[in-house]
C-alpha cells in the first residue's frame, strides 16, 4: 500500500525535512508515527498526501508513483485517501454536515447515500447534535471531529491523520482512536502522527514509527 525507498524531501530554502526514509505499510494496518516537533512527521504525511513530492528516492502510495507530473493520477489517488489535517481545513460558512458531504460529492456516490453516510460519520464522532452548526461556531475539538468525520465518511482505502487527537480531551481522543482502529476491519490502513504516545493502545497497533531529524530512527511492530 505504501512503499518508500530512500525518500528525501528538501524544501526550496535548503531545509532537509526527510532524509533517506524507507517505509512499508500494508492494507488494513494501523500505524503511528511519533517524534518530537520538527522531526519530520508532518512532512512525511505531506508526502503521502501528495502535498509535497520527494526530491529523491521512490514513493508509491496505493500503487501510485508520487511524482508532480502525474496530476490527474494524483487527483484520483487523493479521492481514495481520507486526510485529517492538523489545521482541520474545514470550509467556512458551511455547516458540519455540509463539510462532511462536500468531501464526498465528487466520489460518484448517490446524493441520498452521501447524506446518509455523512450523518452516520458525524454520529460516530459524537456530533449528532451539531449537524447544522456552522463550523465557525464549533470548538477546536468539535472542528477536529468534523475533520475526522469527513475523512471516514469517504470510506477511503487509506486514512492519513495529522495529530487527530491534538485538541481533544482524553475520553474523546480515546474514542476517536478506537473509531479509527475499527476501520481496520474494512481493510482501511490508518496512518496517524501524534505526540500523545500515552494514548496509543498496543492492542490496536500494527506499527510504530519513530522519526527524528528527518530520519526513521526506530520501527516497532505492535
Amino acid at each position: 500500500m505504501i512503499e518508500a525507498q530512500g525518500v528525501c524531501l528538501k524544501y526550496g530554502d535548503g531545509t532537509v525535512a526527510l532524509n533517506d526514509v524507507d517505509l512499508q505499510i500494508d492494507y488494513g494496518e494501523m500505524v503511528y508515527i511519533t517524534g518530537p516537533s520538527g522531526s519530520g512527521k508532518t512532512s512525511l504525511l505531506k508526502l503521502l498526501m501528495a502535498v509535497e513530492y520527494p526530491t529523491s528516492g521512490s514513493l508509491r502510495v496505493l500503487g501510485q508513483c508520487m511524482k508532480p507530473n502525474h496530476e490527474i493520477d494524483i487527483q484520483r489517488l487523493r479521492r481514495r485517501i481520507g486526510p485529517v489535517f492538523q489545521e482541520f481545513k474545514l470550509i467556512k460558512g458551511r455547516s458540519a454536515m455540509e463539510n462532511v458531504m462536500l468531501g464526498m460529492r465528487f466520489l460518484d456516490i448517490h446524493p441520498n447515500k452521501i447524506k446518509e453516510d455523512a450523518y452516520h460519520a458525524l454520529v460516530k464522532v459524537g456530533l449528532a447534535h451539531k449537524l447544522s452548526a456552522s463550523v465557525e461556531n464549533l470548538s477546536w475539538g468539535e472542528s477536529q471531529r468534523v475533520a475526522i468525520a469527513r475523512a471516514i465518511a469517504r470510506k477511503p482505502a487509506l486514512i492519513l491523520a495529522d495529530e487527530p487527537t491534538g485538541n481533544l480531551d482524553t475520553d474523546n481522543a480515546l474514542n476517536i482512536l478506537e473509531l479509527l482502529a475499527s476501520l481496520k476491519d474494512e481493510q482501511t490502513s490508518v496512518v496517524i502522527t501524534t505526540h500523545a504516545t500515552h494514548l496509543i493502545d498496543d492492542r490496536n497497533l500494527d506499527k510504530l514509527i519513530q522519526v527524528d531529524g528527518g530520519r526513521v530512527c526506530c520501527e516497532r511492530l505492535g
Binding site: 498526501m49 502535498v51 487527483q75 484520483r76 489517488l77 487523493r78 479521492r79 481514495r80 485517501i81 486526510p83 489535517f85 481545513k89 474545514l90 470550509i91 467556512k92 460558512g93 458551511r94 462536500l102 468531501g103 460529492r105 465528487f106 460518484d108 448517490h110 446524493p111 469517504r154
Partner: protein, 303 residues
C-alpha cells in the same frame, strides 16, 4: 473511457443543486464586495446598452436617409412617350438602381408648390408650367458612381442632377458611424470581460483556502471551478438585467425628449428597440459572465 465520461456527467448532474447553492453561498459570504461588483457590471452593461441602442438608432436614421438618396435625370424634350417609358425601364434595370419613375410636369409643379408652402403663390406669375418632366431615380449609395456614369451615357438623357456632394458626404458619415459603432461596442465589450474576470479572480482569491482543501481531497478542477463560473454568470446576468431595466427607462425618456424638438428624425419603434436591446444585453451578459469567469479561473490557476 465512455463509461468514465458518463460517470462524470451523472456526478455533475447530481451536483447541480450543490453548485447553485455554493455559488449563492460564495456571493453571500462576500456580500458587500459582490454588491459593488453587481453595480459595476450594471453600469458597464447600461453603457453598452445605450451605445448599442444609439448605434441601432443611427443605423436606422442612416438607412432611411440612404433610402432617400436619389438623382434626377432630365431627357430630351423631343422624346416620344414610348421612348421615355423605355428609358425609365432601362434605368430600372441598371445595377444599383432601387427604383426609377417618371415625374410628370404637373407632379413636379405640385411638389414645388408643396415645398414653397405659403410662398407657392409665386408660381402663379408663370403663364405656363415652368417645370419639365424628369426621371426620379432612387439609388444605392454604394453604387453611386457606376449608376451616374450609366445614366449619363444613356441615349436621350440630356442632363443629370446628381447631388453628388451631398450623397458623398452622407456615404462618408454612414461609414464613420458604422466604424465608430464597432469600436465602441468592442471597447465596452472588452472592458466588461476584463471587469468580470477580475471580479471572479478576486472571488477565487478570497476562497483560495477552500479551493486548496478541495484539491487536497481530490476534487476535479471542473467540480471546483463550476460554482465560480455560476457566480460570474449570476452576477453578470443580474447586472445585465438591471442594466436593461435602466436602459429601457432611459430610452423611453429620450424618445419623449426627442419627439418635441426633433420630430423629423426617423427613429425605430421604441418597443422593438427595447425588446431587441434587452434580449441582446441579457444574452451578452450571460455569455460574458461565463467567458469572464473562465478567464478569471485560468489566470488564477496560472498564479
Amino acid at each position: 473511457m465512455k463509461g468514465w465520461d458518463n460517470v462524470k456527467m451523472k456526478n455533475f448532474l447530481n451536483n447541480i443543486g450543490y453548485f447553485v447553492r455554493e455559488a449563492k453561498t460564495t456571493i453571500r459570504l462576500d456580500l458587500t464586495s459582490n454588491i459593488f461588483s453587481l453595480f459595476s457590471t450594471t453600469l458597464i452593461f447600461f453603457i453598452l446598452a445605450m451605445v448599442i441602442s444609439g448605434w441601432w438608432m443611427s443605423n436606422q436614421v442612416i438607412e432611411v436617409i440612404q433610402g432617400e438618396a436619389e438623382i434626377n435625370a432630365y431627357f430630351d424634350e423631343q422624346l416620344e412617350k414610348k421612348d421615355i417609358i423605355e428609358l425609365v425601364e432601362s434605368m430600372n434595370s441598371i445595377k444599383g438602381v432601387e427604383a426609377a419613375r417618371l415625374v410628370g410636369e404637373d407632379e413636379a409643379y405640385g411638389r414645388m408648390a408643396e415645398i414653397l408652402g405659403k410662398d407657392a403663390q409665386v408660381l402663379a406669375y408663370f403663364e405656363d408650367n415652368p417645370f419639365h418632366s424628369f426621371v426620379e431615380v432612387k439609388i444605392h449609395l454604394d453604387e453611386m458612381d457606376s449608376v451616374l456614369s450609366h445614366i449619363s451615357a444613356m441615349e436621350g438623357v440630356s442632363y443629370v442632377r446628381d447631388n453628388r456632394e451631398v450623397l458623398e458626404r452622407l456615404h462618408h458619415i454612414a461609414g464613420i458611424l458604422e466604424l465608430l459603432g464597432y469600436v465602441v461596442v468592442g471597447a465596452v465589450g472588452i472592458s466588461t470581460l476584463v471587469i468580470i474576470s477580475h471580479i471572479i479572480r478576486q472571488g477565487i482569491y478570497s476562497n483560495r483556502e477552500q479551493i486548496n482543501t478541495l484539491r487536497l481531497l481530490g476534487a476535479p478542477e471542473m467540480f471546483i471551478a463550476f460554482p465560480f463560473v455560476l457566480e460570474g454568470l449570476f452576477l453578470s446576468a443580474a447586472g445585465g438585467s438591471l442594466a436593461v431595466v435602466l436602459a429601457g427607462f432611459s430610452i423611453k425618456y429620450m424618445y419623449v425628449q426627442m419627439a418635441g424638438p426633433l420630430p423629423f428624425i426617423p427613429l425605430p419603434s421604441q418597443e422593438v428597440l427595447i425588446v431587441n436591446m434587452g434580449i441582446l444585453i441579457i444574452g451578452l451578459s450571460a455569455c460574458m459572465g461565463i467567458i469572464g469567469s473562465m478567464m478569471g479561473l485560468s489566470s488564477a490557476k496560472k498564479n
